[in-house]
Amino acid sequence: MSGLQVVFLIVAVVTLFSGVMVVASRKMMHSALWLIMTLLGVAILFATLQAGFFAIVQVLVYIGAISILIIFTLMLTRRVMDEETTQVIKGWWLPALMAVILFGLLAGLLATWEDFQGMLNELPADVENLAAFGTALVNPAGYVIPFEVASILLLAALVGAIYIAMERKEKAE
């Protein structure tokens, strides 16, 4: 086993364990901190795939922005749930069974694919070619339409979020 495989296995085990703790923690704040651990593990997985740009974006967007938003929301809504003995619904075994069955189906389906055992070889160091990626995003022959639609979606979502979360004094009476 090569060094990179050992790194992958350690990171994958830590990531999956943190993922389980996200859905299993009783305290919401612990759950959010485990989520940050999971996101960091995913960033390291991106780095092992030589997608350094997306590893950095993962840290910036997910850990820097999204988890901070989640923690803020937890602090604004924390009062009720902290005394609860359980965070999951009564028939939690049914979703657990479904998740296990889905995992079995996915693994079985993937195993029938002929390239499933393909090896990921090391690519040249400059393979990511961010200049070409950036050019393709603003090139009319490339991906400018999806890029602009995504920009408008993000803008609309942020304006909508501000509008929804805004406290309206006249309604508070």
Binding site: V22, V42, I162
Partner: protein, 106 residues
Amino acid sequence: MIPLSWYLIAAAALFCIGLFGVLSRKNAVSILMSVELMLNAVNINLVAFWHYHTQLQGTSQIAPQVFVAMVFIVAAAEVAVGLALIISAYRRRETPVVDEMTLLKG
């Protein structure tokens, strides 16, 4: 080097963990966190296939990178709107529990 299958299995496991969280947690914020797990699992798959495809073709493939960027953008938009909705509903009902959010019931 690392087999492609390891990434696919790890991503499938992370996706199923997220699915369990979405279906079983009571708190709306927990459900959003589980959705984040599922989106991350999808991103691992996309980046792994980007690597594999690039390796087969010899040059960097743009389309998978665009897909990953789209998933990031949609995840950010979804979290912003979702958390705003949760805060807004919490202000009315003083509860983050999904079962008790019945504001839309006639």
